[in-house]
Symmetry: C2
Subunit: 427 residues, 2 copies
């Protein structure tokens, strides 16, 4: 098909009429399909049902160290859960603490603590006039939600195929003492599926922050969430890299099993240097007696070790692969030759980031909504919900079954074409 | 036996020599018994093992409203869990939100949020020069730990047999706008086992706080934790009382199943007015996607309703009663006639508060430690760990089996006598 950019006004108008007819036909189908959030499908949840049998009334409730997991105690988690999660992200278990079911809460809590108590003795951020976080964009809306809630100024950092624009990161972190943090999803990033290159990780580790209390918020949410057996991204261990670079305390790493076992009933955890952990433990002691060790025991006995995790993730990939293929194949089929959009084909994670022509994202999402397809709102993957170019759409293919997803993607590409053809006529 | 207060110096010296001999004999036994914390015993934990079979791989994972409890969603908890917990404390389920395994974390989070964001639009507390919390004493050490961590000034309020000294509470709350909260354990209070009278609750509900953002932190931790069938304390519903008094937003109520099912793997929850809940939900949306709904489902299906809870608590009482009897009987046997200490015989809860002669608590606890008995540190039930009279000792009888507890209490009363006889000789 002819590229829209080469069409005359008349051709565009004719194309619009054709697209409207097709769109009305889709609308008439009364579809209702949700691609808004990275929610696992029922089939994926079913993969871990057996975990529920691992702990029952006849079980031994003792951790390997001998504490009764039903009772209070072991504030930082049981060793077997620390080991499991440490292995997952490639950090020593001694640097790991295991929490409840939500890594987002850990991150919220860390920002909240830094606001009120500072970081390793620094001035509490709430007493400072300016506190800034760097936000590689597009990124994870819930990260930005935390910093927005606390009134922290967010600074957009462009993403590149190897990670955030490190020239910008270095310039800002190394010179502006108001910069206290950066949000990172370093592997299979949300929403682009980009994995930071070794060079990017090393440049992160070698930052010379103007602020002593600057921390990298390293949300390694998709550490083992590969789509393919033969194309698996590798991410350098940031904790090790920071230690090597003489910056052992500069990073907090977060992770969870939300997309390994049950989205709502998994384990979350974090890793950091011992000096950071001491501060974290001190606060933890104030806010909780211990996290749910029964769920830790359940996970540790079910997944056993990294091999168990990998086996489970291979089962997930089997379900996820056809969904990602559906998204990417439909985009390629319907849009490639039109030269009006771009997208990255990820090797893992939960999303496909679609980049429309500038000024089209809101219109596309609105059209899709009219036809019964719910997409992540335009602007969501940006601080303050503002996509400066109104072009990025996050596609989350995990929840709908493949036939629904195909139907939704058919509508989606139609919406992209219709919105774009209209935009081009405005010029 | 003759009261120590009536003894001559010589008699006291002779008594001390006798006690030292007895104490040395106890020390030689090499006991190691922990009565420091309100930790349920293994027998109590065993009461709920069946709960682990209620949810297994063959279960229906849907909440009554139809959401898959394995997945994300239902941020404020599933209805059946809200109902169960609301019934437990006598508040409508619409006012309830269900959280993770620790009510302490909810309370921490509420204080933290108020510090940074204020309460319903008030100035964030971190921007104020003075923020005060009233602390009925003796009280729960972990409450005081939260306010201490955030640098909130704590003001001691004496406890009476009907609750906190309400004249003092009214005077301070109604006249000092720096007073932003009060910590309460209104039923079977920690550590005295006192239940606030209806009059006390009504006076609480009728406060006219100088500060709009004053809140009662009503930690109803022992709502159903009775020891006897025939002597059960009743607590007036504070939410209802506050609404009646025209102060619907003045209270946050907290509760949990930690001492109903598993101490480390229960549910926690809170109740408040809809206006408060709206603010809380807004923040909740920033910090979490949803709490562990599988554990909610497990609890709701296992305990079913208030009758189920009551039946479970009757089983706990059967185990706890002999322990409390052991404590109280030994105190009566060894100390009553000596006129050197007092204690309250509680109808429920987890503790016995022992009041020694002024200036003796630290010495008693130190002696007990030498003989292998671990008690809650002196001062722990007070803000800043400072018991102004050094007289209160919190006894936690739940963990040791009765024979151990008897051995520990035999040592304890010996330590009380020895420390007191020494104190009396100082005069």
């Amino acid at each position: 098909m002819k590229s829209y950019r080469e069409m005359t006004r008349e051709e565009l108008a004719r194309e619009e009429q054709n697209l409207i007819k097709a769109f009305d036909a889709e609308k008439a189908k009364g579809l209702s399909i949700n691609m808004a959030r990275g929610k696992p499908s029922t089939a994926q949840l079913d993969l871990s049902n057996d975990m529920l049998d691992v702990i029952n009334s006849k079980s031994d409730f003792c951790s390997e160290k001998g504490s009764d997991c039903r009772n209070y105690g072991d504030i930082a988690g049981i060793d077997e859960a620390k080991r499991l999660m440490g292995d997952m992200v490639g950090v020593p278990w001694e640097n790991v603490m295991v929490y409840g079911n939500a890594s987002l809460s850990i991150m919220y809590d860390f920002v909240s603590r830094s606001m009120l108590k500072g970081v390793l003795g620094s001035t509490p951020w709430c007493q400072l006039d300016h506190v800034k976080f760097l936000c590689p964009v597009p990124g994870y809306d819930r990260h930005f939600g935390i910093t927005e809630y606390f009134g922290i100024e967010m600074v957009n950092i462009p993403m590149t195929p190897t990670g955030p624009d490190m020239d910008k990161v270095e310039e800002l972190v190394n010179n502006d003492s108001a910069v206290k943090g950066i949000w990172c999803v370093p592997k299979y990033s949300n929403p682009q599926g980009i994995t930071y290159s070794d060079d990017t990780v090393r440049r992160f580790a070698s930052l010379k922050p103007a602020a002593d209390d600057f921390r990298i918020y390293w949300d390694n949410a998709y550490a083992v969430h590969h789509l393919y057996d033969d194309q698996q991204d590798e991410l350098l261990d940031i904790l090790g890299a920071c230690e090597e670079a003489g910056n052992p305390d500069m990073v907090y790493e977060f992770f969870s099993t939300s997309k390994i076992t049950f989205a709502g009933s998994g384990l979350s955890g974090m890793a950091a240097s011992q000096k950071n952990l001491d501060e974290i433990r001190h606060q933890m002691n104030v806010r909780i007696i211990s996290y749910d060790k029964m769920n830790m025991l359940r996970h540790a006995r079910y997944l056993v070790n990294l091999d168990g995790v990998k086996a489970k993730m291979a089962q997930h990939a089997k379900i996820m692969r056809p969904k990602f293929d559906t998204v990417v194949n439909t985009l390629n089929r319907d849009l490639k030759s039109l030269d009006i959009a771009s997208w990255i084909e990820p090797h893992g994670g939960y999303f496909v980031a679609f980049e429309a022509m500038d000024g089209c994202a809101t219109a596309i999402i609105q059209l899709a909504k009219e036809a019964g397809i719910t997409l992540t709102p335009a602007g969501a993957p940006f601080p303050y919900h503002k996509d400066p170019r109104d072009s990025v759409i996050r596609i989350a293919p995990s929840l709908p079954p493949v036939p629904d997803l195909q139907a939704a993607m058919d509508v989606f590409t139609l919406c992209v074409r219709l919105a774009t053809v209209r935009k081009l006529q405005e010029k």
